[in-house]
Symmetry: C3
Subunit: 211 residues, 3 copies
C-alpha cells in the first residue's frame, strides 16, 4: 500500500474508534467496555477480511493500529463528558472512514487476484463489519441491516466502481479516488436527504418458528 | 469432492439462502439486509469450518457460491411478496440442506485426517452455524439452542454414523447416503411429530449475575 | 508448554465448561444447547486467539479438550438438578480459569514474538472471549462489558505484569505465577469487595441513531 493510503487508513481507524466509543455510551458500559467496543468497531472489519483471505491480521502485523484506536477511544471519553458531540461531524467522519476502508479492503483482495465479486465483498466487510460486531455486542440488530440506510450499499457501489475502473485499465489512484468518492457521496447524500432502501417485510412468514 | 456432491452442495447453498431471506422477512430489514442475512445463512457454516481447519474459504475459492446465494435471495423476495410461502416445503428443503452440509463438512474434516470427534463437530458447524449467525444478527437467541428442536442433534447423529461406517470400511457413497438420510429423517421426524430434547432450566442459577 | 501448564489448562477448560453450563441454565435451553454453550464458553477464547495468530486451533490439534468440556458439561447437568450450586466456588473457579487462560494466551503470543501489546490482547481474548460468545449466543450484552466488573481488566493487568517481568529477564515460571496471581487476586477482590470500573454513559449520544 502507498504511504498515503496508510496514513488515511490510520485516520479511518481513529475515526471508527471514536464512533464506537460514542455508540458504547448509549449502553451504560464501563470504561473498559467502551474501549473494547471502540477497538472492535475500528478493527473488526479488517480482522474478518484478513482471516477470510488468510493474511496476517493487520493489527498483529502492525500493533500501532491498536495504539491509535486506544488513544482515540481514551480521548473521546473526557470530551463527550463535557460537551455535546457534534453529530454531523461524526456522521461525516464515519462516512469518510467507510469510504476509505471499503477501498483498502477491495484493493487488498484485488492484490491477491481474488476476482471482482470477492473484492466487492471484502471491501464491504472491511468498511461495515466493525459496526456489525459493535451492534451484536450491544445485543442490537446491526443498524446497517435494520435502518434501511444507505450504508453497506454505498460501500458495495463504490467498490464495484473501483473494480470496473480497474478492469478498464484506469490508473490505480484515479480509480481509488473515484471509488472512495462514490462511497462517501452516496453515504453523505443518504444522511443529508434521509434516503433509504425499501424495508422488506414478510407478513406470511411471521408465524414461522422453524430454525 | 465428487461432481455429484458439488451439485448437491450448490443446491444446499441455494436452499439455505432462501430460508435466510424468509427469516429476515420477520425482522423488517431493508433489501440489502435481507440479502446479507440470506448470504450469511447459506455460507456461515462452511466459512467457520474452513477458518477452523485452515482451508481456503470455500466461497473465496469458488465465488460461484456467492452468485447462487445472491440469486436465490433475489428470487425469494418478489416471490414472497405475492404469495404465501409453502412452509412445509421450506422445512423439508432446510432439512435436506442440513443433511447435505453436515456430510460435506464431516467429509472435509475426515479428508484432513482430523479424527472422528472433529469430523462430527465440523459437520455440525457446517450444517447449523449459518442459522446461528443469522439469529445472532437478528438479536435472537439462536433457535437451534432455544427451541428444544432436533436440529443440531440430527446433524450430530448423522455425522457420527458416517464416521462409524467409514471406520468400518463401508464404501464412501453408501456411508454418505446413510449419514445424510439419518440427518434428514431425524429432522423431518422431529418436525412431523414435534419432537424435542428436554429443556434444561436451572432455578438456582437465575439469580446469578457473575460473568 | 510445560506439562504443568497443560494440566492446569485442562482444568481451566473444565471449569469454564461448568460455568457455561450453569449460565445456559438461566435461558431455558435444551440439553444440546447447554452443551454447546458450555463448549463455546470453554473454547471460544482460545479459538479466536489461534485464528488471529494463524495457529492450528488448539482443540483441533488436541481433541481431548473437547472431550473434557463435554464431560464437564454433562456432569454439571444432573448435579445442578438436585442441589443448589455453590456460587462462590464457581466464581473462584472461574477466576482461576481466567487467570490461567490469560497467562497461557499471552505466553503463546510471546512465543511467536508478537510484542507486548499483542501478548496482552491475546491473553485477554483467551481469558474473556469465551464468555463474550456465550452472552452473545444468549442475546445479552456481554456481561464483561455491561456490569462494570473487574474481569477483563484483571486479565489485562496480569498479562501486562507478565510482559514486563519477562522483559526484565525474570524466569518464566516466576513471571507466570506472578501474572496469574495478579489476575486471580484482582478478580477475587473485585468479587469480594464488589469493586467495579466507573460506568460510562453519554446522555447526548442517546438520541443518535446513525450506524
Amino acid at each position: 500500500m502507498s504511504l498515503f493510503l496508510q496514513i488515511v487508513e490510520f485516520a479511518g481507524v481513529a475515526v471508527f474508534a471514536v464512533a464506537g466509543a460514542l455508540a458504547a455510551g448509549r449502553k451504560s458500559l464501563d470504561l473498559l467496555g467502551v474501549i473494547v467496543i471502540a477497538m472492535v468497531t475500528a478493527t473488526g472489519g479488517g480482522t474478518l477480511r484478513d482471516l477470510l483471505l488468510d493474511r496476517t491480521v493487520f493489527w498483529i502485523a502492525r500493533p500501532e493500529y491498536l495504539v491509535v484506536t486506544l488513544a482515540a477511544a481514551l480521548l473521546t471519553i473526557p470530551y463527550v463528558r463535557f460537551s455535546r458531540p457534534p453529530e454531523k461531524f461524526l456522521l461525516i467522519a464515519d462516512a469518510l472512514g467507510l469510504a476509505l476502508f471499503s477501498i483498502v479492503g477491495a484493493r487488498i483482495a484485488m492484490a491477491l487476484d481474488a476476482g471482482g465479486l470477492i473484492a466487492v465483498v471484502m471491501g464491504t466487510i472491511t468498511g461495515a463489519f466493525g459496526g456489525v460486531v459493535r451492534d451484536v455486542l450491544c445485543a442490537e440488530i446491526p443498524m446497517i441491516l435494520r435502518k434501511g440506510q444507505i450504508y453497506a450499499t454505498a460501500s458495495i457501489l463504490g467498490c464495484a466502481l473501483l473494480v470496473v475502473l480497474d478492469a478498464l485499465g484506469v490508473p490505480a489512484n484515479i480509480a481509488n479516488v473515484a471509488g472512495a468518492t462514490t462511497v462517501a457521496v452516496l453515504r453523505l447524500a443518504a444522511i443529508a436527504f434521509d434516503l433509504s432502501l425499501p424495508v422488506f417485510s414478510l407478513p406470511a412468514a411471521r408465524e414461522r418458528d422453524d430454525p
